[in-house]
Every structure is written in C-alpha cells, then in structure tokens.
C-alpha cells in the first residue's frame, strides 16, 4: 500500500526489548481497588452505589453524566468502602472522586448483558449503545469515550477505519503483546466497529519494529477475507499520532482544529478494538486492561492484565520491584507520559504503562541557550518552528505564539527530545496553553463581572426611574385630584391657593 509522506519525526531508542517477549500475565488481585469516576475525556460518572453496598464483578458503579462521558464498573466483587477523593494517574494530578472497593476474593460476576449474537446484523445504534454501556474508552491514552466516536461517525460520513497499532512510544509493549496474543479478538472488534461506522475501508497500521505482531495480525486478518489491510509503517516517532497516522495511511490531511471524522476517518487503538469485541460478544464491561511495566529501574519488566483501580506500587511489585530508586516514575511512555509523584495512585483505563526509569535513562542536562540549529524545526511533524514559539512564550507573547501555531502543536515532544541545548520546549508550550486557558477564564470572569455590574446598574437605574415615575405619577394624580375637587366645589385653584 502506498504510504504518504510525513514530515519530521525522530528515531527514538525504543527500548521495547525489555518487555516485548513477556507474555501477558494477570496482576494478582489487589485487596482494594480505587476506581476513579473520571477516567475518560468528558464529565465524571455519577455513583449509583453507596458505601457498604456489596457489588459484583462487572456491576455498574457509576453512570455517565452528559453526552461525553463513560460509566465505571466494578473490577471485582466486594464491598464499597468509601466514596471520596483520591489522586489518580490522571494527567491533572488533582484529587478525583473515587470509589474504594474492598475485594472479597470471590471474583463473582454480575449477570452480564447477553452477547450480541450477530453483530453484523445489528444496528449501528445498538452497537454504539453496547459499547457505551460497557464503559469503553480509547485505550491508546486519550481515553475518549469510544461510543461517542462511533455515534458521531455513524452519521454516515466515515468511510475509512484506521486502527492504530503503531505503539510508537518507547518502552510500551502492551499493544504489541495484545496483537501477538489476541489477534483474533482484535480483528473481530475491528470488523464490528467498521460495521457500526459503515466504513468500507479498514487499515490496521503497525510499526515495522513489531514483525511478530505484523505477522500474526496479517494471518488473523486473512482468515476473515480481504477487506482488512495490515500495513507496516516506519518505526519512527510519532507515527502513532492520530493526525499523522491518518495522513500517512490515507493521504488525507486533517485541517487545523478539525477531527478525523471530518475527513471521513475514524481512528481507534488495537486494544480498544479488543475491548469492543469483549463488550459485544461477551457483554463484558471494561474493567481491566493490559499495561506494560518497564524501565531500567524495574527488576522484571512485564506486560500485565490489570484491573482498573489497582495501585502503581502493586504493578511494580508484580514486576519484581525496583532495583534502584527510580529517577522518574511515569504513567505512559517517556515521550508523552505523565510524571507520577506517588506509588499509591490507582491506574485508570487510559494507563498504557507504568515506567520506572533509572537515572542513566533520562539524560537530564541543564538547559542551555538556543543555538538556532533548526533541529526542532526539522523534526516537528506539524511543521512548526518550536524555537520561535518558545522564544515568544519566554517573553510572554502568548498571542503571537498562538499566531505561529501554538494550538497546532500536538505536544509530541520530538522537538525537545532532539534539541541539543536541552531546552524543555514542550514545557513552554504546556505553560502557554495553561496560561492562555487561565487568561481565558479570567477574561470570561471579568466579562461576567462587567455584565453583572452593568445589569445591576441598569436594574438600579430602572428602579430609580420607576420610583421617579411613580412619584411623578402620584404628584400628577394628586394635582389632578385637586383640580377636580376645586372644580367640583366651583372654586378655582388660584382662589384656593390665595385662600391658603
């Protein structure tokens, strides 16, 4: 298949050999699970259970709120200990509403919804409903509710389904392992999604550095016929970035500020496809996922099937613990992952891995001045000039940074990875985006305050006017009355005035 040209990108040391040969193993069931209510893009789910309730594995714990949200289910059977706030592996590092579930060790399943026997005869709406009810979100990291994408696209605009098996982040091997061990389930999920979307073209993109996955997936795809295309794409970061993957395999460039669906493409991760398969064929909600535990400080890197809500320290223990104090603890890969500041935070649906990096792996060096070498420009897959944006941000010229493309930056980190002066370019961009948001909030608050003040002044003015008018009316009425009385007595007002 013809691949289209992607500009930029970096050849990262992928370090996947640490865990790529480790089969997926289940994490030993933790005694307590901390299930956050907001693990997805959108509004947090609302609890439907109370403290002290006994719940069964797969039972609904919290229902979605609003149109972009996802439900949360019990990862095992047990008792609800608490519903409170807890810091999670979610990017914001702000305490999130969380349900604490004490496992009873029975793993007793709730009655699952019946399997959809022939999904290819089912309506798109019923499939989307099932996917929504099972709490499935994008497992590539963004954790956007999958049903929303199936729904939006079901309006008949999507013709191509792109399945992302690139796994371009270094260290992570969970998608690689799922493709090698569960290829049949993935292919089935992919076909179900394609049916729901009405997509006529299906492309599964896998980076060339995963030959076994390519092989297994190709064989699994061949068993169902020629409609699924497995393509080997260059092992170059960030090939798995949604916008770039779409351009690479379809030649369609998503316009700025638009979504893949706008160019007729829907992009989903391989693990998501497998979760869709489980939801449709078994009725199983998303209560666990495969995660990679790796990094130079981990004794025995693994790929684990982890119940949502397990603690990071439990994952590390299952990987033999650490051999040295990790210099950096991350949820996700080293390029776009989030730093963790504690071991006692739960993993969520969007957590693709936990990395404990040794000091020798993170290569920290003090930031030096920009030597204008242009490396960042040539590696940026978005065609931006990172050094210029950073310089503008350093001088707080945020609007100008936006004008040269700040919001077009996908925060892939290629520029900062390659910068010989070790300038934390992405940090500047995060700072600017956060600051602009804050300024936007402040602006809105100021606008609101001004509007309130204005309407208050207007109200007061209205009241005052009403009062004045009332007074005037009363006066006028009184005067009229006097005139009337005077006339009634046959006496002139002048005379009355003279008489008084």
């Amino acid at each position: 298949m013809k691949l289209f040209r992607i500009r930029g990108g970096v050849d990262v040391a992928h370090r996947k050999e640490l865990s790529s040969e480790e089969p997926i193993m289940p994490l030993p069931l933790p005694s307590r699970l901390y299930v956050p209510l907001r693990q997805h893009g959108g509004a947090p789910a609302e609890p439907v259970v109370s403290v002290g309730d006994r719940v069964l594995k797969g039972q609904l714990l919290a229902a979605p709120q609003g149109s972009v949200s996802a439900p949360v289910h019990a990862p095992t059977s047990g008792e609800i200990l608490n519903i409170g706030r807890q810091i999670t592996a979610h990017p914001s590092a702000i305490p999130q509403p969380t349900i604490v579930l004490e496992s009873d060790g029975c793993e007793e399943w709730v009655d699952l919804p019946p399997p959809i026997r022939d999904p290819f005869a089912a309506s798109a709406a019923s499939l989307a409903t099932r996917v929504a009810d099972c709490g499935i979100v994008g497992l590539g990291g963004a954790a956007f509710p999958t049903a929303v994408k199936l729904d939006a696209a079901a309006r008949g605009t999507v013709d191509t389904l792109v399945i992302n098996g690139a796994e371009c982040e270094p260290y992570l091997t969970c998608d690689d392992r799922i493709m090698r061990e569960r290829a049949g389930e993935i292919i089935d999920g992919v076909r179900i999604m394609a049916h729901a979307l009405g997509a006529t073209r299906i492309v599964i993109a896998i980076e060339r550095n995963k030959p076994q996955a390519l092989d297994t997936m190709t064989r699994a795809a061949d068993t169902v016929g020629p409609e699924i295309l497995i393509v080997a794409i260059p092992a170059r970061y960030p090939m798995g970035s949604e916008r770039h993957l779409v351009l690479l395999v379809t030649g369609r460039e998503i316009p700025a500020r638009r979504l893949p669906a706008d160019v007729g493409v829907s992009v989903h991760n391989v693990a998501t496809a497998r979760a869709v398969h489980r939801a449709v064929r078994v009725g199983e909600p998303l209560i666990s996922r495969v995660m990679t535990v790796s990094g130079g400080a981990v004794r025995r890197p693994r790929n684990l099937e982890v119940p949502i809500g397990a603690l990071v320290c439990e994952l590390l223990d299952a990987a033999g613990g650490t051999t040295e104090a990790p210099a950096r603890l991350l949820a996700g890969g080293p390029m776009m992952g989030q730093p963790l500041h504690s071991l006692v935070v739960p993993v969520v649906k969007g957590t693709s891995g936990i990395l404990a990096l040794a000091a020798s792996e993170i290569r920290t060096a003090p930031e030096q001045g920009c030597i204008r070498c242009g490396t960042c420009v040539s590696v940026c897959p978005c065609g931006l000039v990172p050094m210029e944006m950073a310089a503008l941000i350093r001088h707080e010229k945020l609007e100008q940074a936006v004008a040269v493309g700040l919001h077009d930056c996908v925060a892939c980190g290629s520029c900062a990875y390659a910068c010989p002066s070790h300038i934390p370019l992405v940090q500047y961009f995060h700072y600017a985006k956060g600051r602009l948001k804050q300024l936007g909030h402040e602006q809105r608050r100021r606008d609101l305050a001004r509007r309130l003040a204005a309407s208050r002044a207007e109200r007061l003015e209205r009241i005052a006017r009403a009062k004045r008018e009332a007074v005037a009316a009363r006066k006028a009425a009184a005067a009229a009355k006097k005139v009337a009385e005077a006339q009634a007595h046959g006496d002139g007002p002048v005379g009355s005035a003279a008489g008084s």
């Binding site: 369609r252 700025a256 776009m336 030597i371 210029e388 010989p420 956060g434």
Partner: protein, 361 residues
C-alpha cells in the same frame, strides 16, 4: 488549572544523545585534518598564530561570561569559543603577527558574540566579523601571504626560533617568502588587462589548489581536506546538505555561466570553487547554526544568497574575501528569511488558514 500544575516540568523524559558540546567537538574534529596539514605546509609561524588566537578567545570568553555572571566553566566547555577562534585563525594570513590573532579573537568574542548576549544571540558570524574588521583596520598585515614552505617547496622553511621571530618579532615577513594568493594574483592580472584564461593558467596549477599547497590563509588552502571534513559533518548529521550545496551550486552556476559568456573576463567554476576559501565557507562558516536560518527552505535561500553575493563581490568589487562579506550580508538577512520561509503547518495552508474540507472530498 493551577499555577503549580502549569509550571510542572513536563516530558519528554527521554532525550537524544546529542548536545551543543558534541556538535562543536565534531566540527573541530572535522577541522583537524586541514589543521594538521596546514601546520605542516606553513610551519611554526602558523602554529604560533593559531595558538595565540585560540588562547585569546578562551580568555576573552571567560572574562565575558564572568562579567555576565554566567557559569564560566560549563560555558567554556561547550567549545563554541574555541571553534570561533579556530575558524578565525583559519582565515588569517599564516605569517601574520601575533597581535592580529589576539585582536581578532577579542573582536570575535566580545563584539561578535557577547555584545549580542552570548552564544545563540549573535546576528553575525563572529569569526567573519573579526576577519572583516581586521581586514578593514589592518589591510597590510591582513593581505601579506606567503608561499607554502613544507614538502620541500621552499629550501629553508622557518624553524622554531625563526617562526617565533616571524610571529612575535614584529619584523614582518622575509621578502623571499611573500607571495600572493591565487585569487588576488588572478585579480591583479585581470586588473592589468590580462584575459582570465591566461591569468588563471599563470596562477596556480589546479591540483595545487585542490591539495592546498599554495599561498593562502592559514587554514583555507586545502579544498580537498576541508571537503572531507564537510562530508564527515554531513555524515555525522552536524550539518545538512542545504547550505553547502546551495552555496557551491549557485557559485558554480554563476561562474560557469559568466565564463561561458565571457571567458576572457571571468574565471571558470573550478577556479571559483577551489579558491577564496569557498570550501571552508560552504561547509564550516555559512553552516554556523546561530547565524543561518533554522528552516530547510531558508537554508537553501541563505546558501544561494551567499554564493551569489560572494561571486558578485569577487567579480565586480575586486575583494578576494567576497565570501566573508557575503556571509555577513546574508547573516543580516537571516531573520527575514526565517520569517518568510516558515514550513507549512500541518492542516493549514501556506498562509496559515485551516485547510478546507472541500479540498479532500
């Protein structure tokens, strides 16, 4: 979002094995063959001048950093000052007196670099600023060239002590040694009304120009060794092909064309490329990251501009140092080029408007 979370350090938590120091060290490594060769060709005076220039630059850099309150050791270790001095020394006449090297180094570091705010901030290439400043201020010692003396090209190359006298003695160069560079010789001849063909033929044999056994600046003569260093830099990904190819290409094109039209007046492409420090300039000076554009397109424009201007200056203004002037002029244009040659942003048109969906359907 709170203030804490937005100033939180963020990824990536991996970094390429790549630093400013590595870049500078590789450029220096690429210069070593030409340096050794020219030390041999020009003998002790060249070695002394080189040492004085580098030492003065390091001292000036240290003082500037100290005055600016910056970490002296760490910044000296990045190697940029040493490299600037190295390139400056390469462009000096090999038997120039010691103070030429010292004054040049101070100009390069203080005026060329630190006045602008230090590494990365300067608009002009510091070595070229110093070279042009020296040329204008001290035209006589800056144009006194000598014949190469190594390889038994001359009966009596100056020994260690003679070398000391030449560099530090202040007595000038023995008449027997002085010579004109190929470029200025040709220009003198052209000035006397000789056709270019005769002038070039009488100057230097092409193989000597390529090898570098001719009169010229301290490090500029050996086109072959410098080109080898440049190829190494390309291979080591320190530079990309854009600037050197655009520079040499435009120069070859122009001189080739002019030569075809009026061979009596304009020397051919081979002569143009092999003389006047073209190879050094194309691979090592015009490619200076700080003073050249950051985009690939901009680098092509910049390189082509350097080639064009230096050919024009050499051909019509009669300055053999045309390339130094050309590079400085293009340095001044760099901010403009950078603004004009931004890459197209993903999902947007060249003018920055979002792509329209119609285009895709």
């Amino acid at each position: 979002m709170t203030a804490e979370t937005i100033t939180e350090p963020s990824g990536p938590y991996a970094h390429a094995d790549w630093s400013v120091r590595q870049i500078m060290l590789r450029v220096m490594a690429a210069l070593v063959p030409a340096t050794v060769f020219n030390a041999w060709v020009f003998g002790w005076p060249a070695v002394f001048l080189f040492a004085v220039t580098v030492a003065a630059a390091l001292i000036a850099e240290a003082i500037c950093l100290w005055l600016a309150g910056r970490p002296v050791g760490a910044s000296l270790a990045d190697g940029s000052a040493a490299l600037t001095a190295w390139l400056l020394a390469f462009s000096l006449p090999p038997y120039a007196p010691w103070w030429i090297g010292m004054v040049g180094a101070v100009i390069a570091i203080v005026i060329g670099k630190h006045i602008f705010g230090g590494l990365g901030q300067n608009l002009f290439n510091p070595a070229m600023v110093a070279r042009v400043a020296l040329l204008i201020s001290f035209p006589v010692p800056m144009t006194l060239y000598v014949l190469p003396t190594g390889f038994g090209l001359l009966a009596a190359p100056p020994g260690f002590l003679d070398g000391l006298v030449i560099t530090f003695g202040g007595q000038g160069i023995p008449d027997a040694l002085s010579a004109a560079t190929a470029l200025s010789a040709v220009q003198t001849q052209l000035g006397l009304g000789q056709p270019a063909t005769v002038a070039v033929a009488s100057a230097v044999a092409p193989w000597r120009m390529a090898a570098g056994t001719m009169a010229g600046s301290l490090g500029e003569t050996s086109a072959l060794l410098l080109a080898a260093g440049g190829v190494y830099l390309l291979w080591a990904r320190v530079i990309t092909w854009h600037v050197p190819v655009a520079l040499a290409g435009s120069m070859a094109l122009l001189s080739g064309l002019a030569n075809a039209i009026d061979p009596a007046r304009f020397p051919g492409a081979d002569f143009t490329l092999l003389t006047g420090a073209t190879v050094l300039g194309a691979f090592f000076i015009a490619t200076d990251p700080v003073t050249s554009p950051v985009t690939r397109g901009g680098q092509l424009v910049f390189g082509a501009g350097c080639g064009l201007l230096s050919w024009v200056i050499r051909s019509f203004a009669g300055y053999p140092e045309g390339l130094a002037f050309a590079i400085l002029l293009m340095n001044a244009a760099t901010p403009l080029i950078d603004r004009g040659m931004r890459p197209r942003v993903h999902g947007r048109t060249r003018h920055g408007r979002p792509l329209t969906l119609e285009r895709l359907r």
